[in-house]
Every structure is written in C-alpha cells, then in structure tokens.
C-alpha cells in the first residue's frame, strides 16, 4: 500500500493543503516547531483514527477552526486494483468524528482502522521500554487490533465488563453479584491473553534478531508476562480455566481493594538484556541507547507483523528518530530498513544532512510554519 495523495484541512498548524506523495516517499525538512511531526500525525491518523502522540481529537483542530479533516488516497501496490480514499474528520462543537472509506461510512468505526498499513517511529517510543506496563499493553493492543481479527472486539468487551465488575466491587455488592460478571470477563479476557501470548512468542525471535543487528551483537529478549499464570494452558478453554481460578482465588483481596486485581489489564511484556550470566530488565538497567534500540526493535517487529498478516509493505513514518542514536546504531538501523521489505517512507529531519535513509532517492520537501513546499 502506498499513500498517493493527502488532503489536510485545519489539522494543527498545517492549515489546508493538498499534496501528492511520490511513490518512494518523501523527506520533510524543517526547523523545530514548524509542524514536521504534525504532518506524520495527520498521516498516521488515517491508520488508527487517533493521534499517535496521545492528543485528544479536539486538540488536533487548528486554533479558531471548528473542524479538521484528513483524507488520504491509498494506492495498492498492484496497479490494477482501484485506489481507495480514507477520510477522517472531527468537529469541535458536537465532538463528532466522521470516518468514511470511499465516501461511505463504515458500519463500525473499527472497520475503517488499518487501511494505511503504516508504522510510526518516534523519539517518544523510548517510553515503550522506559515507561510502565500500560505503555507496552497499549502498544500490543494497537498492533493486535490492527492485525488480528476479533482482537479489538474482545478487548473492548473485556474493558466493558471490567468497569461494571469493578463498579459492583466498589459498591460492595454480594459475592454472587460480582461473580455474575466473571463469565463475560473470562471469555473476553482469555481471547486477549491468548492473542498477546501468541504474538509475543511468535515474534520474540524477530525482536531478538532486530535488537542484535542494531546493537551489533548484543542480545535481548521479549517475553509475555501475563498477570494470570498461563503455565500449562494451551487451548482457549485452558486459559479461561486459569483466569477463572485466579479470579476465584483473589476474591477476598479484590473485595478489600474494591477492584478486580487479576486479569490481562495488568499484563506486561518484559524486555530484557541477555547478559553472559543473567538477564537484566531493560526498563531498569538499560542505557538510553539500549532502550532506544529496544523500542526500535519493537517497531520493526510491528512492521514485520503488518507485512506478514496483511501481505503489504508497510508505509514507514520516521519522526526524526536518528537524532538520539549513536553513529554505529543509526547506520545499522538504516541498513536494516533498506534491507527489509519496507515500502514508502515519509521521514522528517531538521537538516538536509540528517536525511540518511535513501539519501539519493527520496525527494525533499520543506516545511515552514506548517506550510509545506514540494
């Protein structure tokens, strides 16, 4: 998939612009605070229908405007397949989001997700490694929601039951009333846990491999650490049983805390350095460079997942990511990106000299105060 056209209206400081994107991609060059990241944010909005920087929709609307809109034309690699237009708009007043695919509103918003097949690499990715477990859960939830049918609805179902179960606990309802939510929680939760486990196990090798290549020989591992022990659980029923057992065993504690204390809402993904003798948690013991490398490896695994599950070369969005890596590491990331089956690349850099990926082939655009000149 490649993005052949982008129409932006009142998105952050980007104003209104219509752009045609070259098939190989583009390098967007501009000083700080001119809108480089906003441009990538606008593009990636079409993938997840929200800001990758965690901004709320109304914050994306230009000051003094009432509505923003982003529309992208997606051109499948196979030229005989018709292109597709995904558009997303948000209105400040009604707090209303409208998404269309080829002009028609999908039955569910979720049906419009993932049309772009893109991955963003951003300096904030270091939080995936340094931050708390919720950062890593968010990461895997997005990856699986976009790439695994049924995951998102299970996750939404799980959250829905969880709030209600917690409300029952908080108001001190009798045990039987709290337990009434168990079946729904367990059924949805088991799907979530199973998918997370399979993904981490299936992609763990690739993570280690990417990490090794970028760090030039150093080892790292990724492991799923479910809050509910899944030891010996293979089938979906096993996972359900394990979860139900953990719930029942914690009934006294959850009563005391007034909230559900076990379940995938407390999962984590461990990222560890492989040392000669022992394994060190990257979150605690990793250096800045090691953490950045691990974050990059996670994004590369995300791109690989898109390639494998959607049979598409992902659109790579690079938000000035090499600024903080040492020379050797950034060289090797670049080699890796060149070597992997990446599709179109949109990258941002403060200076011409910072454009290192596809140095000779990427067209240069400039951005100043949100205005892009091609």
């Amino acid at each position: 998939m490649r993005l052949s056209g982008l129409a932006i209206r009142h998105f952050r400081n980007l104003g209104s612009q219509e752009l045609e994107l070259p098939s190989e991609g583009v390098a967007l060059i501009g000083d700080n605070a001119q809108g480089k990241s906003n441009f990538l944010e606008a593009i990636y909005y079409l993938e997840t229908l929200r800001s990758f920087r965690g901004a709320r929709d109304q914050e994306l609307i230009s000051f003094e405007e009432g509505v923003f809109r982003v529309a992208g034309t997606m051109q499948p690699t196979d030229a005989s397949v018709r292109s597709e237009v995904v558009a997303a708009a948000f209105e400040r007043r009604g707090k209303r989001k409208k998404v269309t695919v080829d002009g028609a509103e999908p039955v569910r918003m979720g049906d419009a997700l993932g049309h772009l097949a893109a991955v963003v690499f951003s300096p904030a990715d270091i939080d995936l490694v340094s931050g708390g477990p919720s950062e890593r859960r968010r990461f895997i939830d997005i990856v699986l929601s976009l790439n695994q049918p049924g995951y998102m609805s299970a996750l939404q179902g799980y959250r829905k039951v969880l709030v209600r179960r917690n409300a029952s606990l908080k108001t001190g309802q009798p045990g039987a009333v709290v337990q009434a939510w168990d079946k729904g929680l367990v059924t949805a939760g088991a799907v979530v846990m199973g998918a997370r486990r399979d993904w981490v196990q299936g992609r763990g090798g690739a993570f280690g491999d990417y990490y090794r290549r970028v760090s030039n020989g150093e080892g790292a591992r990724m492991a799923y650490r479910p809050n509910v022990s899944l030891e010996g659980a293979t089938s979906g029923e096993d996972i359900c049983a394990a979860f139900q057992e953990a719930l029942s065993a914690s009934s006294e504690r959850e009563r005391r805390m007034g909230t559900t204390v076990v379940g995938p809402h407390r999962d984590d993904i461990l990222l560890r350095l492989e040392d000669a003798d022992d394994e060190l948690d990257l979150r605690t013991y990793g250096s800045g460079g090691q953490r950045r490398t691990a974050a990059l490896a996670l994004r590369l695994v995300e791109a690989q997942t898109i390639r494998d599950t959607r049979s598409q070369r992902p659109l790579i969005l690079l938000d000035d990511v090499f600024a903080e890596l040492d020379e050797g590491r950034s060289e090797r990331v670049l080699e890796l990106m060149e070597a992997e089956e990446t599709g179109q690349v949109v990258l941002t850099a403060p200076k011409e000299a910072d454009v290192r990926l596809r140095r000779d082939s990427l067209p240069r655009w400039r951005i100043e105060s949100g205005k892009i000149s091609t």
Binding site: P149, G150, R164, Q173, P174, A176, V177, A180, W181, K183
Partner: protein
C-alpha cells in the same frame, strides 16, 4: 405558560421526541378533529388510571393478575424471564411460547447503581419456591448485552439450586439474513452454539 407550551413540553419529555417534533405533534393535534384529540387524551388517562403491573409477573395488566397469569391453559411449569414488560409482547407475538413470564424491570447495571435488590428477583425466586418443584424450566431471555449476560449468569446461580432447568435463548444468525452481512462476534456465537441436523 400557554396550553400549547405546556403540551409541547410534555411531549418533548417522551423518548425519541425533541422540541421540534413535540411542536409538530401539537400543531397536528390542533389542526385535526377535536374528537380525535379527546379520544387520545382519554386513552392516556385510562392508561394512567387502569394499567398497572401484574402482581405475579410484573407484566402490564388492567387487573391484579395479567391475562397470561390468569389463563389456566398456560403451562405453569415454564417461566420466561425478560428485562422489561414490553418484551413480553415480543415473545407473545411469536405464538410459540405457552408458559408464563416474569419481568425483572431492568438488568444488573452497577454503573447505574442497579443491583439484584433493585430488580424483581426475590419475587421470581419466591414464585419458584412457592410451587415446590412445579416449575420445570426457567428460560432466561435477558438481552445479549454485557449487562444482560451478567444478569443471566446471576439468575442461573440463584435458580439452579431450587431445582428447575435454566436455559438461555439461542443467539446467532438472524433468520433470512446473508452470512456475509453478519458481524464476526455473532457468527462466532452461532458457531459455538451450532446444532446437529
């Protein structure tokens, strides 16, 4: 406040009716025959004065016992539990159910502060206990929403020890629809609940 304003305000409180629709309804009544309007008003007064809930099942009724509960030909051994009284009508219209009903008056909804005590659950359990084994089956027909499911699980826990078989309405592909237009969750449920032919 004028009569028109008062009536418009009253209409606007009805579900699905906004101020504009309310005004349109009022204009329509003013232009129509006065007798029609009086008949409508009388029907509403009678609704308020005469319709109540059945003492036994909670269904709409004009007497202490509703038509279904007072019908000796209904099967006293099967109870169908629904969330709201208007859902009784939906099941009755199928003509396929000959048992009795029980209306819960809602469903477990902790976010709205609704627990078992706010619903007609005690009266349901009492009904089953009082006839000592004569209720063979309880069909739980709560909705398939998150709350409806939890309500069903709770009822099952409470009813099973009293003896009756507890069953749940089947969920799956709507009759007459094409598989390709049915959402994944529903198909998954239909697969899980498939039956031998």
């Amino acid at each position: 406040m004028s009569v028109i304003d008062t009536l418009t305000g009253e209409f606007a409180r009805l579900p699905g009716v906004g101020p504009k629709t309310a005004l349109r309804l009022v204009h329509h009544l003013m232009k129509g025959k006065k007798d029609d309007t009086r008949r409508l008003a009388r029907a509403m007064v009678e609704l308020a004065d005469r319709v109540r809930s059945c003492d036994v099942c909670g269904n709409f009724s004009e007497d202490a016992l509703c038509e279904i509960c007072s019908n000796p030909r209904r099967d006293q051994g099967i109870l169908c539990v629904v969330e709201e009284a208007y859902e009784v009508g939906a099941i009755e219209r199928t003509g396929q159910f000959r048992g009795l009903f029980h209306v819960l008056g809602g469903r477990l909804s902790p976010l709205d502060g609704i627990g078992p005590d706010e619903l007609h659950m005690d009266s349901l359990l009492a009904r089953i206990r009082d006839v000592e084994g004569r209720v063979r089956e309880v069909i739980v027909a709560t909705n398939s929403s998150v709350e409806g499911e939890a309500t069903a699980v709770y009822l099952e826990q409470e009813i099973r020890p009293l003896g009756p078989t507890v069953t749940r309405l089947a969920r799956g592909i709507p009759v007459g629809s094409d598989l390709e237009y049915v959402d994944g969750t529903t198909i998954a449920q239909a697969l899980a609940g498939r039956r031998e032919m």
